[in-house]
Symmetry: D2
């Protein structure tokens, strides 16, 4: 119900704006006695933080996370974990023109119409800085998952930038950390580097597709209808700024398949059921199959560009705007760790829900 | 939190299985004094109900809806509205083989693993019959929207069947009700008719893409982060059986766009802001713009097909299965009214949430 | 959030009015594979149902409960359980005067002001008939508790009627079912019988105090702050019609105690910690201690009486009203099984929440 | 669902422990454009803060509240408001004995059993310091209520300390701020002063009853069943540490009344309905009547006393404990502003819920 919370038993409530003193998250419902400290969370935040290379915003934020509650002697206590990240680099001078005009493609106009106020220094609550809090909270989820489901592994990576898709035949997961785009295709990384450098110079931006995969998810998480695991994955990803679409498994392409192409055949393996393929993306009827959970989401290009665009002012006058400042030419890059964090939160939440209602899986095969 | 509920202030809880005596929905939070009777709901159910032509399952269900509570003297009372639909055609003989084997692509295997039980006569809670309850509940939402937002209009239609997309240049909304596919492209309807007839004869099935548009949505519904209007639209659509992807506005294609292509320019019109295009799908920063809210979702092909497929039994033996019975060759067709119903529920819910927190929009332009 | 739901993981949504065709409850989140049939639930409903002796309303309702979903082959499936109870005795002729006037002490006036409508034939949604749905849902909770916590036992009984308290020295739990008042004090039952017979003849009514005790509750259920076990017990009981106060353990009398009188001393027993007394009512810091959970609630007298009372009409005219009809002279009597049902729902819900977040108790003593 | 949240549309999530660096609350759902600054909140915190006289704990806490988000240019933005209060006085040396032993009457034993950890320096999450966050959040609610319902006034005061009740005939609301007990009975204040000074010297403690009244509450807030206004008031108060009972209106005494004594008669006054009395405590059938909303709650004596009490250690050995340290001889005193804060949160939440579902009251009298 809460407008700024996500999750059921493992529930994250984030707070803070781009130009306030700090932002953060309260993480409620984390199991107790999970090893946790700020350094563990910092690892994930360092992945997301801005200014790390020329392809992300040059805003300089340490994104230093503090744990203010819920951890004692290096372990979670089972009570709320408050994570706080100070905002340190808030150069307001860059944002002058924005105070009077609504930036097309940004939340400015709708935010103002609804709330009747707007922090003209930045995106306020709509700023992508909110995702730092998600990454911190996701770090808590990962710590708990490590203890509860040690085989679980979440991997996010870019599979498309603008019109340029990766070649899935050339995927090598070891490559993900070897390029500034978190892509498993080293060849694509080279193409993208040139493509994005040109775009950046021209003051433009471009969209991207991020894929997040979770392996080691046990069968049985989710429910047949509204609490479908895919419903919550979709909601989690769509709740990220700038995301316009979410796919599970075959995704939109499922529309083009025939039944015999789409349904993943089942055979009995040494450790239980095996599937010949994974069009389902690891989720059948809302419940995990034990295969990799696979989702993809599309991130639109940032609307902060140097090309003049038509817009209006608060007083309703037609005008033009260009958005200077320190922006990401492809925000999809920094969405990779955010998508991973959301996946971690959803999986932990569903594990706890499952344990609550069911205990352990009730049906055994073989 | 509840596994079988959807919505915040306008909250729908559905219940019932494919082969139980009845199914239905409790609708909680509907505003009082809305004109409502069973006939109004029946109109929407008649659109969804099976057996209407050769392209949908031949299961014969009257889908007769009864209102058991929450309406007095033809008006809603503001208390829970119980909607009940009896199951009448439950020919169990068709389902014999399913008791022992898991149908690939269906929820059978995950459902059994989680719950340790399975109603072998049909899909149990995973059956698409659950969507009848959604359509009934959506009818309540529409009745309320008619009173509260009389200009709002929700239109669902098919835009792709298998590999065959419609030609958007040839869209004519008046055509939607003139063909069995709810498509606005009369030429596509002809192509699809032959294509699907062939598929049906061969015992196969195919996926589809459904688009749902809402016009007349006031600016201001939604919130910047987790309670984004698009988050709830995505969750609503992804919660429907067989849906594998959801797009808002430009959707997955947003990834291919540059900033200057994607951001919809704004000009001042006689009645307020106007947009040069609608890549945003009517939602900016999680909040409605006043433009049409546009979403699309992909429905996978039903996995009930006549081609033998490899699977396993409960005892873990490898085997094959073909799924006879009365099935939809393209379940996407019947998903059209379901998508409309979910859109109605989400929009009413967000209207009530907005009225609760904000009252009326606080910012005025011009 | 939902206005007509109760519980978190085990969530009950009730629906229906006093004079509609039926009422009932959807029970969501029940663990699967719990033995359950309508007969088991009927046992509890028969305890609550009206017309069983001269001290309860003479409305004749079979209160026959049907299970419409969520149970297959005599076991819960883990999906929503719809419980329906038809209304059969709705003699509207008794209620004529009520249509025009607001009955003092009843919900009539507030209900009308809020919703702008009122089912003049009875209390509508405010009728105590709603509690039949609670008792049915409580029966589901008890069935699950029987499987999950077999030592748990819930006992409700009356401890005060009007000014007449029971003598706790003379409590004999075996007496509870031996008198029409569900009281463990046989002597009090005799006093009350004469007292209430006189009241009934004079067309008056009286309040009562009900105590509900749960033994066999494991230590560890609840949480330190908002999800305190006592918070949910208090909310559960206060949500019952006509309840005006809830006490846990020493209750209001805790105000009169000094620290050394109130704090229950702890010693080590053969099976773990033991307490010298139970002022805490089995709950310390919001979490169960393993002692009996003890709550009491006060039920006001029904406001349907034969003495003329000043009131007003819808049009705002001063007038008087007497409420004829079939009413309980002491509704507290029939609140006993309702209180038991609510306790069952709360305890199951908290057991599932605890299992979800914690798994098993993390701290061991000794 | 969240274990540390309270409220529906206006939702408060608190975090922090007695001996962590800070504690606070995230307030979500506050309407936008409400005048708010830290100073306004500080006023309320100063009322609750410890060490103000000899009758409250000598822990020295400035209880200085900072607003970290959700307020811009002195007005709420409609996004989450993070309130932070640093812990400054955490003298751990006082708490030595507690590390090994469970204090009777405190949450120590249940907390440890559940979570398997315990911050031996203080009560951890169970500490009454959590209530500082409630008071801060309540200050936000009051600021919003001031704008939305300017006639609303919330007043809390002590009506009983140990065995000593106030004389209601001698109530003078102007006296409340004139004595250290927040009591409207100046004579009682004198009696209590001597009584409590003696208790404090002897190292004992005592319980109390606090009454909270809200005048100017419009008719129509609440709902007939689970979302009853009294349900949420009861839950709010019971969620406060050390509270063991909650009464609405006549409360427990309603049990002793007959129907003609209890039902408040209604007459038509110049501004709408008037009631001859207020046994209902301003709530009929779960919905506010427009009369004063009146609740009372009992606070048990603190269990930190100097008399040796039997207890056990973590390893299960019998022992004794006395609790030195800086404690309140009557924690009921400091519960007064906390009760007021909770009432403010509940009333604002129900006002927003009402506005969401209903808009404005639908029924008009006269």
């Amino acid at each position: 119900m809460s407008m700024n919370s996500f999750g059921h038993l493992f529930r994250v409530t984030t707070w803070g704006e781009s130009h306030g003193p700090a932002l953060g998250a309260v993480v409620d419902g984390c199991p107790p006695n999970i090893a946790l400290d700020a350094e563990m969370l910092q690892t994930w935040l360092d992945v997301r933080k801005p200014g790390q290379n020329k392809f992300t915003t040059q805003r300089q934020e340490a994104d230093h996370v503090e744990i203010l509650s819920g951890v004692f002697d290096g372990r979670t206590t089972g009570t709320p974990i408050q994570l706080m990240i100070a905002n340190t680099d808030q150069r307001s001078k860059d944002y002058g023109d924005i105070a009077a005009k609504f930036r097309p493609g940004h939340a400015d106009i709708t935010y103002y119409q609804k709330y009747g106020n707007r922090d003209y220094r930045g995106g306020g609550r709509s700023s992508a800085r909110e995702t730092a809090a998600r990454v911190a909270a996701g770090g808590v989820a990962r710590a708990a998952l490590k203890a509860l489901l040690p085989d679980l592994k979440i991997t996010g990576y870019m599979v498309q930038m603008g019109p340029h898709e990766i070649d899935r035949a050339g995927m090598d997961m070891a490559q993900i950390t070897e390029n500034p785009f978190w892509t498993p295709d080293a060849t694509a990384a080279q193409t993208w580097e040139k493509y994005l450098a040109d775009l950046r110079k021209s003051g433009s931006s471009v969209g991207a597709i991020v894929e997040v995969t979770a392996s080691g998810v046990p069968a049985g998480l989710g429910a047949p209808v509204y609490a479908k695991l895919d419903t919550d994955v979709a909601a989690a990803m769509m709740s990220i700024n700038a995301v316009k679409a979410v796919e599970i498994g075959a995704g939109m392409a499922a529309a083009t398949l025939r039944g015999e192409e789409n349904a993943d055949e089942i055979t009995m393996g040494p450790n239980g059921p095996e599937f010949s393929s994974n069009h389902a993306g690891g989720i059948l009827g809302g419940i995990s199959t034990g295969q990799d959970v696979v989702c993809r989401f599309a991130v639109k290009p940032t609307s902060s560009i140097l090309t003049p665009r038509k817009t209006i002012t608060k007083s309703g006058e037609n005008t033009e705007i260009i958005t200077k400042g320190r922006h990401d030419p492809c925000v999809g890059i920094r969405a990779v760790p955010v998508g991973e964090a959301m996946m971690a939160c959803v999986l932990l939440d569903h594990f706890l829900l499952h344990r609550g209602q069911i205990g352990e899986n009730q049906g055994h095969i073989g």
